[in-house]
């Protein structure tokens, strides 16, 4: 028996898988268990809620309060209906936009494809609240006062509330931001699909719509469903957009309720709410697995590049391209340029040329502006923050990409066994955890040395660790998708040649997965540069980052300075993006687990 165990472990896949499980258990399962356990016990704070509270003892009170009390409707059921409807609507709308765009770019002879592909990724680089702000700039009505929306001042009609706030704009802005997931995922699936499949169908005389419905759609189904899950989960857990657009019409989602509980120090209530979010997401994943089932391997690429015939758009060729580019520019470039412009404006809202200044970028201290706050480039903290941000994002991205690849290797190589499935599913959990609750638990987990792990709290290492953990869901998906494309025999050939596992990984798997690796790197880099909620609790003065610096500026109401930093972040991201695409042949598609 021990011999069998030993032999089982001698297989590198098993050994790494077990090691990975231990790692994931400590960094993911353990925190989740701790969250779960807090919801079943009274805490000192609960004396605020009820006199029955008996600190340290078991109780179902918290669940009852959320699920079955006179508060439940307002606190849980109504918000959850909102969350679900937003989740489904965003997924559906993103699907239509993303798939349509993907089809146009991959399958038709539309011109300007490269430009469009580049533009399509831009909304993803921007924080999603920027789009909602842009929405308000255009569509707000008199209800929330201030400068009237551009549409209202042009047309002199008051837009109804449901256009300006709440469900509709939340869904639209989130969809614009997130449809890039569908674009990349489905685009990849479409481009890997042999166009002979379509041709075979058209030979039988099927109409184009029939072909789309019967042939193309089923083939890209797995990609569509995984896009659906990513976006659905993202949508129900996002806070910024619903807070901005939902508040004026009292449109609450679970995520905004959760944030409120957190800020009001009703931590247990927040935990219960976040667990319900996790449960919903797990349910969707489970249903997805039921739906896709074995069909997942459908699109798996043979590696052979097949000739592709493009659908001619005929006379629509140019109009379609123009419309697409215009829409892209409106949704991607305009908000970006407005931000850029604002960072040069001495006074907000004054669009005269004389109002332009470099002050917020490189100006010295002027007591009349922002109480003497210097331009960003002169801020001594800026250099530190920039270095920290680049360091965290860079190292975390490399680690997350490599670990993702290794775990993806375990997942694909032991797909049928419990080990592969466990690694696959556990590594998806961090996606569903609110960053701030994860961070709170990490403080106590890493504040003092445990076993062989030194006290990481206050070090950059911890920021890197949490970023890596939070990004694992993406990179593992990307890694396994990429590994799935690499025939097992490429590795076996090296194994017979006498190469150890490490040599095989280094000399065969790593170079072969380079493209996906660079893409995963890029994706993690982008989100790490934008990340804020996750790390804000763990940051100490020495580990200040660009995002925490924006927090400082925003808190003091220095909008232009905030914009300057935002522009820097976006510029860095775009430069890295271009470099990776140009030299690393990166493809964001693979970064999000596309085939």
């Amino acid at each position: 028996m021990t011999n069998r165990m030993f032999n089982w472990l001698r297989n590198p896949v098993h050994l790494i898988g077990i090691a990975a499980l231990f790692l994931l258990s400590y960094t993911i399962i353990w925190p989740v268990m701790r969250i779960v356990s807090t919801t079943f016990f009274w805490r000192q704070q609960d004396t605020r809620l009820t006199g029955e509270a008996n600190p340290g003892h078991f109780t179902l009170y918290h669940w009852e309060r959320v699920l079955a009390s006179d508060m439940s409707y307002s606190l849980f059921y109504k918000p959850i209906m909102h969350s679900l409807s937003v989740g489904f609507a965003v997924s559906a709308l993103s699907m239509v936009m993303g798939c349509g765009l993907a089809w146009l770019v991959v399958r038709t002879n539309m011109p300007l494809k490269k430009t469009i592909t580049f533009l399509a990724v831009i909304p993803y680089l921007l924080p999603s609240w920027i789009l909602s702000q842009a929405w308000l700039t255009f569509f707000k009505n008199g209800k929330i006062g201030g400068t009237p929306g551009i549409l209202q001042s042009l047309l002199h009609v008051s837009l109804p509330d449901y256009v300006s706030y709440g469900f509709v704009p939340i869904v639209i802005t989130m969809s614009i931001h997130d449809s890039v997931f569908f674009f990349l995922l489905v685009g990849a699936a479409l481009s890997s699909m042999n166009s002979q499949l379509e041709e075979a169908a058209s030979v039988t005389g099927a109409r184009r719509l029939t072909i789309l419905r019967r042939i193309v759609f089923p083939l890209v189904m797995p990609s569509i469903l995984s896009g659906f899950i990513l976006i659905f989960t993202k949508a129900i857990s996002s806070y910024g957009v619903p807070a901005l657009l939902g508040a004026p019409v009292n449109f609450h989602m679970i995520s905004t309720m959760l944030y409120s509980s957190m800020r009001s120090r009703l931590t247990t209530e927040a935990n219960v709410l976040s667990l319900t979010l996790m449960l919903i997401s797990m349910l969707t994943i489970y249903m997805n697995q039921r739906v896709i089932g074995r069909r997942r391997s459908f699109v798996t690429v043979t590696g052979k590049d097949s000739a592709k015939t493009l659908t001619p758009l005929g006379k629509w060729k140019h109009p379609v391209a123009v419309v697409t580019v215009v829409v892209m520019i409106l949704t991607a470039l305009v908000p970006l340029l407005i931000l850029l412009l604002q960072s040069f404006m001495l006074k907000e809202g004054d669009y005269s040329l004389s109002n332009l200044t470099m002050h917020y970028w490189s100006g010295g201290s002027d007591p009349n502006i922002n109480t003497g706050e210097k331009g960003v480039l002169r801020n001594p903290i800026f250099k530190l923050a920039l270095r920290n941000s680049l360091y965290i994002a860079g190292v975390a991205a490399v680690l997350a990409a490599v670990i993702g690849l290794i775990l993806g290797y375990v997942v694909t190589r032991s797909k049928q066994s419990w080990l592969g499935r466990a690694v696959d599913q556990v590594s998806f959990l961090p996606y569903l955890m609110p960053g701030i609750s994860l961070a709170a638990i990490y403080i106590s987990m890493f504040a003092k040395p445990t076993l062989f792990i030194p006290a990481l709290y206050g070090t950059i290492t911890l920021l890197i660790v949490i970023t890596v953990v939070k990004e694992l869901p993406f990179t593992v998906k990307a890694g396994s998708a990429s590994m799935m494309q690499i025939g097992r025999e490429l590795e076996e050939a090296a194994q017979i040649g006498g190469a150890s596992w490490f040599t095989r990984f280094r000399r065969i798997l790593l170079p072969l997965n380079r493209k996906s690796l660079v893409s995963a790197f890029l994706l993690v880099f982008i989100s790490a540069m934008k990340e804020m909620e996750l790390i804000i609790l763990l940051v100490t003065p020495r580990t200040e980052t660009l995002t925490t610096l924006t927090f400082y500026y925003a808190e003091k109401g220095y909008e232009q300075l905030t914009n300057v930093i935002l522009m820097m972040i976006i510029a860095i991201v775009i430069v890295v993006y271009i470099v990776a695409v140009r030299f690393g042949k990166a493809d964001l598609t693979q970064g999000i687990g596309g085939q």
Binding site: Q44, T47, R48, L49, M71, S74, L75, K78, P79, K143, I144, G145, G146, T147, P148, A243, A247, N250, H252, T256, M257, Y259, S260, S264, R265, L266, K347, E348, N368, I369, T371, G372, Y391, G394, V395, V398, I443, A447, K448, A455, Y457, G458, I460, L510, P511, R514, L517, V518, I536, L537, T540, P541, R542, F551, Y552, E555, K556, G557, E559, G584
Partner: protein
């Protein structure tokens, strides 16, 4: 060759990443600052013990001369400040000029997150911050931090006589500045304050014209409403003063709740944050009013607003939102911490530059010897008392009431 180049590139990228890792690792190790901190943490701990008891508030308030503190502080390492406000940063800059040899690092953390952070740190035996500058979180700072000895009050004895109540003896600590939430109006629309009684907001004149930042996401706004519930008798009296009759509660528990309900019925509009509220009433000519923080008035110029806060409302204008100063439990650099707090307080005579960032339009320094930038002096402000314990226990009910009636 093409392929070779590609794999080469991949290798180079990896190598770069690895060197980046190690390079940065070494730089941060070599950084003198961090080394110093490590070393000083060891030496400072016994020093603190020698000084007596870091956790005893009264001991902290004993007389110490600036010179003594400076001498001690120079031996210690970097002073760590956790602050909810960027003002601490500004004070730190002048402080470092005034006391060369002491380095200060300021971490900006939201007050509720700061509580989590410090609690978790201290429970794990990590005593990182020295100075705490924080706002209250519905009394939770008092109940969960001050009472537990995690944040320690520090008011030098020789400063005390100049400090206004409640911050001299009653409050949980000295507050270096006091703001409050009040009603703002657009000064280009109204020549004088359009509201004198909170109940004005429930009249048809202001139907659909009252904004507030979302108290669900900014609990400090909830504190105002909670205080109205706690002091419901005041609210009932103000109602009678305004309408000449006793208030009908219509099923609500007291006049405070009734006020919130009537606000909703009158079309209260909830926006995400304080800035959104001021944008709404201040960006263009508007006859609406909104709830925001008094200190926001200083942002008028930059944001192109023409807003003004109302500083006298019946029955009381508001409840103070104080920027409390504490020394953290087992602060590793206690002497420097004390020195920095004294600096932020404006030193003994109240003229030090460290106070400047706090003595602003819309924000009051509760010292009788400091001249305020505002038209009204701190003592003249008509404010409710911030009752931490009551707030702490009442806030969840008010929040529940809010959620039930406004979602």
């Amino acid at each position: 060759m093409y392929h070779k180049k590609k794999s080469l590139l991949a290798m180079i990228m990896l190598i770069c990443a690895i060197t980046l890792m190690t390079a940065c690792g070494t730089t941060s190790k070599d950084e003198p600052a961090s080394k110093e901190t490590n070393a000083s943490a060891d030496t400072a701990a016994p020093a603190a013990d020698n000084a007596g008891n870091g956790s005893d508030a009264s001991a902290a308030a004993s007389t110490e001369t600036v010179e003594e503190l400076y001498a001690q502080a120079k031996e210690g390492g970097k002073l760590i400040v956790y602050s909810t406000s960027g003002r601490a940063n500004d004070a730190a800059e002048t402080f470092m000029k005034q006391y060369p040899g002491i380095e200060v690092e300021v971490s900006k953390v939201k007050s509720d997150e700061m509580m989590d952070k410090v609690t978790k740190e201290q429970d794990a035996g990590q005593f990182n911050p020295d100075v705490i500058l924080t706002k209250e979180v519905s009394g939770a700072v008092y109940e969960e931090m001050v009472k537990q000895g995690r944040y320690i009050k520090y008011l030098p004895e020789e400063f005390a006589p100049m400090v206004d109540e409640p911050y001299r003896t009653q409050a949980e600590a000295y507050a270096n500045y006091v703001e409050f939430r009040t009603i703002f109006y657009n000064a280009s629309t109204y020549s004088q304050a359009p509201v004198t009684n909170w109940w004005d907001l429930t009249t048809p004149e202001f139907k659909g014209k009252v904004y507030t930042a979302d108290p669900l996401s900014s609990p400090a706004f909830m504190d105002l409403f909670t205080t109205m519930v706690i002091n419901s008798d005041d609210m009932a009296a103000a109602y009678k003063a305004k309408f000449g009759k006793d208030i009908e509660l219509n099923g609500t528990e007291n006049a405070g709740y009734a006020f919130i309900k009537q606000l909703f019925d009158n079309g209260l509009i909830v926006l995400k944050g304080s800035d959104d509220v001021l944008d709404a009433i201040g960006k263009a000519k508007s006859d609406a009013v909104g709830l925001a923080v008094s200190g926001d008035v200083s942002k008028n110029e930059e944001n192109g607003w023409t807003i003004a806060p109302i500083l006298d409302i019946q029955p009381k204008t508001s409840v103070p939102d104080s920027g409390y100063l504490f020394i953290a439990n087992k602060a590793p650099h206690e002497a420097a911490a004390k020195l920095f707090i004294r600096w932020m307080m404006g030193e003994k005579d109240g003229t030090g530059a460290g106070m400047e960032p706090f003595n602003k339009l819309g924000s009051w320094v509760p010292r009788s010897d400091v001249k305020t930038q505002n038209d009204v002096a701190f003592e003249e402000l008509n404010l409710w008392l911030f009752d931490g314990e009551k707030l702490y226990n009442t806030a969840p009910q008010v929040r529940d009431f809010w959620i039930k009636h406004n979602s």
